[in-house]
């Protein structure tokens, strides 16, 4: 049974940009925070991105310092490879049961030397680069992972023991590591479980998964990223520099056949951003964006769109109906040109990017007893007064867990969730942030009890 209990003010579930920002905003105010992340590293989707719109700032230059801050923050206890299994009411707050999944590497002693990674004989497709790259079964998730420690992928491990032999730290790699359950006593909870993209092969008529040169927007982010798999934008089938790249908008949004009737709110802007970056990376390439409507509603977004047009990126009002593979694994895109007298044409491209949309990454109903909305994202019923509040008092939502949004909006909702949590704690158990600051007790020091 559980033998450890952690006492915190807020439990943040999900270590993407929303969860990190919420944790930092709360931690900086003196609240004690536990951040629970399912995967082996915090960072979420944003660490995989190349640049952010509309400023074209480097995404990891924003993310990695935040990751590091979270990791080193006195008031934040980071739990990676962990999942909340059960939440029960406790006084004014909650007790959350958290499963610490075994990584088979001792996080406290691992130095991140990568010796095990070098020794491991197993090569498998790397999720971080969406299969454009390979990784080992003993691996560090990605170059800027936090914590920077190795994990062993037991699904692919062949138990050859090479990593144990290579590891310079005694007993660091432990194949017998067991799952552990701890309890976290908290006043409030923030759900920041983020999004996943609509599967790129969901629309059969687009041929993704079947045609190698049909990829999705996140794959293109990796191809464009300086840390990307090829160091250049090459098309997957033959490594050719693409001459003509098509973007298919609403490839996973506003489509009832996929059960996604809503607009994902980011695809127009990320497609425009990628088109601009491609224009820089491949100056000779033609870039066409096929769209139903261009929705550039944020601050400076419309100007961003106009700049892209001025750069020579072609915008065609047309919903792509079908993609067919032709000679050399090039692709034909069949559309009705609505603004050109409804001509039905097949246009030739050598790389097609599907602007896939956003789906919720996690269904919190069973564990957290909060409602989800019709679109399956967390219901935030007091959207105009307390945007982060869910249907259950004390539980809040931040970022794309509550609905499709971009990074700018995610940061805003993370801040508002932190403010909501602070107000909730103050009004319910009279906790003063100053108390926590004054006593200077950190989570690690004060609150790990052994029963």
């Amino acid at each position: 049974m559980t033998n450890k209990r952690l006492h915190v003010d807020a439990l943040v579930v999900g270590g993407g940009i929303a969860g990190m920002q919420t944790s930092l905003d709360l931690g900086d105010q003196g609240y004690q925070v536990a951040l629970v992340e399912k995967t082996a590293s915090i960072g979420g989707n944003m660490v995989q991105l190349s640049k952010v719109f509309p400023t074209l700032d480097c995404a990891s230059c924003i993310t990695t310092p935040k990751m590091s801050s979270v990791h080193h923050h006195d008031n934040i206890k980071l739990l990676t490879s962990s999942e909340v299994q059960k939440v029960t009411p406790h006084g004014d707050g909650f007790i959350a049961e958290v499963l610490l999944k075994p990584t088979y590497v001792n996080n406290d002693t691992c130095t991140g030397c990568q010796k095990c990674e070098e020794a491991c004989p197993v090569d498998i497709l790397d999720e971080y680069d969406y299969g454009f790259n390979a990784r080992r079964a003993a691996y560090i998730p990605f170059p800027t992972a936090i914590p920077y420690t190795a994990v062993i992928d037991m699904d692919h491990c062949i138990f050859c023991g090479q990593c144990i032999k290579a590891c310079p730290v005694p007993d660091c790699i432990d194949f017998n590591m067991q799952p552990e359950v701890i309890e976290i006593e908290t006043s409030a909870i923030v759900i920041s479980t983020g999004f996943k993209v609509t599967p790129y092969d969901a629309k059969e008529e687009y041929g993704a998964g079947k045609f190698r040169n049909v990829i999705d927007g996140l794959m293109m982010e990796r191809l464009l990223a300086p840390t990307g798999p090829y160091g250049h934008v090459l098309r997957p089938s033959d490594g050719k520099l693409p001459d003509s790249i098509a973007y298919v908008q609403c490839a996973g949004s506003r489509d009832l056949t996929l059960g996604v009737p809503y607009c994902s709110r980011v695809c127009c802007m990320y497609a425009i951003k990628q088109a601009m970056l491609l224009a820089g990376a491949l100056p000779m390439a033609d870039i066409t964006i096929y769209y139903m409507d261009i929705r550039t509603f944020g601050k400076q977004y419309e100007q961003f769109y106009q700049n892209a047009k001025a750069m020579g990126i072609e915008f065609v009002k047309a919903k792509v109906a079908r993609i067919t593979e032709v000679e050399n694994q090039d692709l034909n895109v069949r559309v009705e040109l609505i603004d050109e007298n409804s001509q039905v044409v097949e246009r030739h491209h050598d790389l097609v990017v599907l602007s896939v949309g956003m789906l919720p990454n996690y269904d919190p109903q069973a564990v957290f007893s909060i409602d989800i909305a019709e679109d399956k994202f967390v219901e935030t019923p007091y959207y105009h007064n307390s945007p982060a509040a869910t249907t259950r008092p004390g539980i809040f939502a931040a970022g794309t867990a509550a609905g499709p949004m971009d990074i700018v909006d995610t940061i805003v909702t993370a801040g508002s969730a932190a403010a909501d949590v602070a107000a909730y704690i103050q009004s319910h158990n009279g906790h003063k942030a100053e108390t926590a600051v004054e006593t200077q007790t950190t989570v690690a020091e004060r609150s790990v009890d052994h029963d």
Partner: protein, 389 residues
């Protein structure tokens, strides 16, 4: 050019089928996915837009609904689930009602009472006619031609043929006025009407456009199941029609023929093809196993059911005659005609049957228009050069 928007038009169209086009946001997916749509005749979005705006005249002048064969690709992939294929079907019914100047087609499509009432009225008319005017009833052997003298039945045939042709041809003429003559700026050389006439026969016989609907499934004749099945139905229907109208004196006989005689096996082939076709349509509509059969308007049931009953009573009639049962033969004959007559009178000029004429004529008219446009454009260019010289 001015347009008059009529937002009530969608409600009118809804009487002709399961119309859901208010949900359409005009993305154009339907037109682009359609295997038959071209830059010259882009559909179905154009028609849907016209219907949304209530541009009655534009829709009336449109040939496009007849070029759609309801493969259902557009409905399957429509991101708004606005059912574009069914909208095209409803437009075909609406157009059939508009081409028909008597107003009967509109009544039959929009009122079950009218449709079913007309069937029973015509059936009763046939029964009463036979009750009053039948010939002598011979009971010791089957003498159908004594009961119903073939030259009189043939006369009835011809009266019906002339009457139905009159209605159908006048409707086609109205279709011609709407589709071809509405564009006053287009000058059509008379020669084109002759040189393009092959389209009519060729498309009636081959229904070749339908083959494009099955392209996904395969390239051979047997893999294009919908086109293949439709060809079989039409062959059976055409053959039976020829037998009972042109060759009635040879077909309706009191002679007994051996099985290899063409009078028998031609009839058998046509009957099997009709049973297969009508059965295929009815089973498909019950099971709703493909896009085309997902929604059934009352009028969609009437034609195959009457066809099936006609074939069924025809088989009974034939069986009784060969078994030498005089009275059952005579009764069945009357019932057979009481089903056959409403089927033809209702469906040929006023119902589903009319697509047999409207589809090839639509292709014919479209070909004439396109050729005329090309000629006119080249003439304009030539004139411009001449003027420049």
């Amino acid at each position: 050019m001015t347009y008059r928007v009529d937002p009530t038009f969608v409600d009118e169209l809804k009487k002709y089928g399961h119309v859901n086009i208010e949900d359409c946001f005009n993305c154009g997916n339907c037109t682009a996915i359609c295997p038959l749509s071209t830059s010259e005749t882009p559909f179905p979005r154009k028609n849907i837009r016209q219907a949304q705006l209530g541009l009655r005249e534009n829709l009336l002048e449109s040939v496009d609904p007849w070029l759609c064969y309801y493969c259902g690709e557009c409905t399957l992939t429509c991101p708004r689930q606005a059912e574009p294929a069914e909208a095209q079907m409803a437009m075909r019914r609406w157009l059939t009602a508009q081409y028909d100047w008597t107003g009967l087609a509109r009544k039959f499509y929009t009122s079950k009472v009218w449709e079913i009432g007309a069937v029973f009225f015509l059936a009763a008319f046939i029964v009463v006619t036979f009750v009053l005017f039948h010939g002598p009833i011979v009971t010791d052997h089957v003498a159908l031609n004594t009961f119903a003298p073939v030259h009189l039945v043939e006369l009835g045939d011809y009266v019906m043929l002339v009457g139905l042709s009159f209605f159908l041809l006048s409707n086609i003429f109205r279709m011609y006025l709407f589709i071809v003559r509405s564009d006053k700026s287009l000058k059509i050389p008379f020669k084109l009407y002759i040189t393009e006439a092959w389209q009519l026969l060729y498309n009636t016989v081959t229904q070749i456009r339908y083959a494009k609907c099955d392209e996904e499934e395969g390239q051979s004749f047997w893999e294009k199941t919908r086109w293949r099945n439709h060809l079989i139905i039409v062959s059976g229907y055409g053959l039976m029609f020829t037998l009972v109208v042109v060759f009635l004196r040879w077909f309706q006989t009191d002679n007994y023929y051996p099985i290899w005689h063409p009078q028998r096996w031609l009839g058998y082939y046509a009957t099997i093809a009709l049973l297969f076709g009508a059965g295929d349509a009815i089973i498909g509509r019950i099971k709703k196993d493909n896009e085309m059969h997902k929604y059934s308007h009352p009028s969609d049931w009437m034609f195959p059911i009457l066809l099936l009953l006609t074939a069924f009573t025809g088989i009974l009639l034939h069986t009784f005659r060969y078994l030498g049962l005089p009275l059952p033969t005579y009764y069945t004959y009357v019932i057979h005609l009481a089903i056959l007559t409403p089927m033809l009178v209702l469906e040929v000029p006023f119902g589903k049957w009319a697509h047999l004429a409207y589809r090839p004529f639509a292709i014919y008219f479209e070909a004439i228009k396109e050729k005329a446009k090309v000629l006119q454009e080249s003439q304009t260019t030539a004139d411009a050069y001449a003027a420049a010289d």
